[in-house]
Symmetry: C2
Subunit: 235 residues, 2 copies
Amino acid sequence: MSENTSAGGSVWLRPDRPGRGPAPEHSRAEIATAAIALAGASGLAAVTMRSVAAAIGTGPSSLYRYVANRAELVELMADQARGELAADGTGPGEPAARLLTIAREGLVLYRRHPWLLDVPATPVPGPNAIAFIEHCLTALTGVDQPAAARLETIALFSGAVRLCAQAEVEQRRAGRGAAQWQGELAAYLTQVAGDGRHPHLAAALASAAGAPAAGAGDPFERAMAKILAGLLSAR
Amino acid sequence: MSENTSAGGSVWLRPDRPGRGPAPEHSRAEIATAAIALAGASGLAAVTMRSVAAAIGTGPSSLYRYVANRAELVELMADQARGELAADGTGPGEPAARLLTIAREGLVLYRRHPWLLDVPATPVPGPNAIAFIEHCLTALTGVDQPAAARLETIALFSGAVRLCAQAEVEQRRAGRGAAQWQGELAAYLTQVAGDGRHPHLAAALASAAGAPAAGAGDPFERAMAKILAGLLSAR
DNA sequence: CGTTAATTGCGATCATTGTTCGCCGTTACC
DNA sequence: GGTAACGGCGAACAATGATCGCAATTAACG
């Protein structure tokens, strides 16, 4: 039994250390890369120990030499994907503009790796998540907030980005495929809106249907602009 | 094979209809209640088809007469729990204050049912989720936003509530139990902060450690106030 | 009232998945 | 050169989600 399962609450506290035995034939990065490829092709649910093991040409049990369990594997995947984030958003300009740049970067990351939206939040941030936080802190230079409050700001900010990305990706998934599904959903909503007990919702849906492109502009841009205005306001 | 598996994209499109055969011995509400009890006692992972079936005194396969799959069961649980939300926040006052009341209500709901944070977002809202939206729309009366934009506002608002609740519950989970875990996390963070490559993070952590109660007041109140200020600003 | 058809309950069962155990070969350290 | 630790991996286990088919039951229909 390796120490993967015994000590070390998180993966990041258990670095690859060269031991006494033979050199490992694989690496965490290689495993994560293979897992990311699987997730990109068939979703996070397709990332099973067996499929990942087969992808790198070994048996399932071999993976447990590198990872304590599947959750840690997913953690590795998520952090490695976050490593693809560009380090933009540190140029001149207002903090809001800088963070908006970072937000756009995050959106394209979620578009490229939709399975990231299925990764549960983990308590311990990986190195790339920490780099992202540092990056956001850099962009927050000049904002009138105590240093501790800025961490909360970043948490809310990245949560908002994730939420917007989730809405977009979800809409995309629904858009593909089932036209029948769209119809059923519409029937359901109109039924609910027509029962008289949800007048405001009925009005909102009617408004949305009447002027589909009413709120012109990118919804993501709108949402992030509003949220950033609130988050960066004088405390 | 019932129609649970064949047609109807969502549970809400497949109401309990009295058929020709014997009356069902259970109901969706009863099953959801039993499942909620299990989740409250041992977490959402403890809600298995077998455990729920045993809780109501039947076999696992019987559940599939009421629910197409486990995901639908969880959907039922989530919507039923949302039904416990009080309908406060419609009194007089500014919209921000009304929504803040609703946000507090949501926080206590997440505190009472922490497993709700583990429920993945579902595309089709259940009846109680729709009632919640209607409720928020009522509270948004008088806000200078087109009706369609208000739906986005509500989505961002409830997402923020969920995010804050997640942070609080997560902190509570970490607080209980592992003091060793706390130490390892602290060691990890100080190591990261001390490597010189994350100066802003080091400063923020030092500030947070130096003045733990610096940002006095409830973090939830602070966060929601800021976010609401942004969301409700003139479009 | 007898027939029919739809529906429920459920035991048995299958496929899949995460995970563990034990053995063997390999490699670095003394 | 011995030894102790380590990696690879085949085999297996427990748990879970889900399916199938059959018997029992009941409402609708003529």
